[in-house]
């Protein structure tokens, strides 16, 4: 089954790309959510 | 038709501006010449090989040159702050685009026709017999390049790194023009020359599609 590694590689890399993208979006979202929190707190303090 | 009269007036201005200094034409011609010389080092320039690679290299040179030549198109207006004056002077912003793309097509065609005999001599490919047909494919190809290029020049002029951005936006978009023009030119420069009417038709379709798109969306390209 010499082609098995090719098939595995394809599916692994394919899913890997999706997973990495999903993680980057999630990471950016969390960072942004915290940033908004921080900004809102500064805004409330200055009011 | 006021669009036509506006266009002719603006076209006159574009031509007068360029022919006063001729800097755009001269630099473009020299650039294509340099590229032609460089190409000779990339393959064995026998007559047979030149017939195979020549058309593609010729059009590649035209495309690279156009992505540089189209830079000042709207950049000049932005730098001199003349864009708002231009917009006020016409009733339909499409006239501005029509004038600029007509001028650009003309400039491109001029440089291509100037370099055609040099190309024929350097690579030993006879072009006299098919000169008329070559003018046709040069015209249709240049029209496509100028249409897309003028539109994209308006976009890239408003971005950072605009010198690099225009080729980046323009060259992938012009793939169909490169393919079709090369094919038709190759047919004309063949040992038994023939006209690829399918390619000619394809170039015409490309031109119509992008002219229509420019007509519909042009005014938004020039928004303040």
């Amino acid at each position: 089954m010499k082609n098995l590694d090719s098939v595995f590689a394809a599916y692994l890399i394919g899913w890997g790309i999706f997973f990495v993208y999903y993680l980057t979006v999630a990471r950016r979202s969390t960072a942004l959510r915290n940033e908004i929190e921080r900004l809102k707190n500064s805004l409330n303090r200055s009011k | 038709m006021s669009v036509l009269s506006n266009t002719t007036a603006l076209l006159g201005k574009e031509l007068r501006t360029e022919f006063r200094s001729r800097e755009l034409l001269t630099t473009t011609v020299v650039f294509i010449l340099i590229v032609m010389v460089l190409f000779s080092f990339t393959f064995d320039p026998t007559v047979g090989e030149s017939r195979r690679f020549g058309p593609g290299l010729l059009w590649l040179a035209f495309l690279f040159a156009s992505s540089l030549m189209l830079q000042p198109c709207f950049l000049r207006e932005l730098n001199n702050d003349t864009l708002s004056a231009l917009r006020l002077s016409v009733s339909d912003p499409f006239a501005i685009f029509l004038a600029k793309l007509a001028a650009n097509t003309l400039f491109l065609l001029l440089t291509e026709l100037l370099l055609l005999p040099i190309f024929a001599i350097l690579y030993n490919i006879p072009v006299l017999a098919v000169f008329g047909q070559l003018v046709l494919v040069f015209f249709l190809g240049s029209l496509g390049v100028a249409t897309a290029g003028t539109a994209l020049s308006a976009i890239s002029a408003q971005a950072r790194m605009r010198e690099l951005m225009l080729p980046l936006l323009l060259l992938p978009l012009l793939t169909p023009v490169l393919v079709a023009s090369t094919e038709v030119t190759a047919g004309l420069l063949d040992r038994q020359p023939f006209v690829q009417w399918k390619g000619v038709g394809f170039l015409a379709v490309f031109d119509v599609v992008f002219l229509t798109a420019l007509w519909i969306f042009g005014e938004y390209l020039l928004e303040e």
Partner: protein, 225 residues
């Protein structure tokens, strides 16, 4: 929160199911053998990529005429997600091609157009990073997006016409050509699963873009205060 978890699990189940079906339910292809199974992932990604780019195109048109920030957010999200599917499509292609036909790449119509499409949308995203003012960025990138999408059939048509002039090795028939009924069913299932994944990624990315807009508003309020 719960809807996200359920949605995410559903997508995971679909994608996993499609993969399982590709491996264990689909019959083995006669000539290529095991490696042909990559086709289910590769081709499904290719089609999903088109859907994403079409969504981007529609959002671009919507922005030019109605100028809503939501259209812009959807446009950039669809472009990015489409680019991800495009990347997977371009990467899995050679991995399938090399064991199947001995070559990594061929400049046939489908692959070449896919590559040009990838380049066009990379340019789209790059353009966006180079324009600072949000409304200007939205408008100019929308206009480029429209031109780029109009170009797609022209790119495919020109390369297809050109490539048929010169004899090329016939590598793969269309996805539907000569596909056995079970294969066809699994293929459609894969397409459905990939589209579900696309929707999930779109929703997440769109949420991120909306948050960016929100952050900008709060930042401006802070500066004004």
């Amino acid at each position: 929160m719960w809807s996200r978890l359920i949605g995410g699990s559903a997508v995971l189940a679909l994608v996993g199911g499609a993969a399982y079906a590709s491996f264990y339910v689909a019959p083995e292809e006669r000539t290529m053998g095991l490696v042909q199974r990559i086709f289910y992932l590769h081709a499904a990604c290719g089609l999903t990529m088109f859907t994403a780019f079409f969504i981007c195109f529609c959002s671009n048109i919507a922005y030019v005429f109605w100028r809503s920030a939501k259209s812009d957010a959807l446009a950039v999200s669809a472009a990015e997600v489409g680019l991800v599917f495009s990347t997977v499509n371009l990467v899995t292609g050679p991995i399938w091609a090399h064991p199947a036909w001995g070559i990594w790449w061929t400049w046939d119509a489908r692959l070449t157009s896919a590559f040009v499409l990838w380049l066009l949308y990379i340019a789209y995203l790059l353009l966006r990073t180079l324009i600072e003012e949000p409304e200007r960025r939205a408008l100019l990138s929308a206009l480029f997006g429209i031109f780029a999408f109009l170009d797609v059939p022209l790119v495919y048509g020109s390369i297809r016409w050109w490539r048929t002039q010169h004899p090329q090795p016939v590598l793969m028939g269309g996805p539907g050509s000569g596909l056995e009924p079970t294969m066809l069913k699994i293929f459609f299932f894969s397409i459905f699963a990939m589209h579900a994944l696309m929707v999930l990624l779109l929703i997440d990315r769109y949420g991120l873009e909306k948050m960016r807009g929100e952050a900008e508003i709060v930042r401006r309020e802070l500066e004004a205060a």
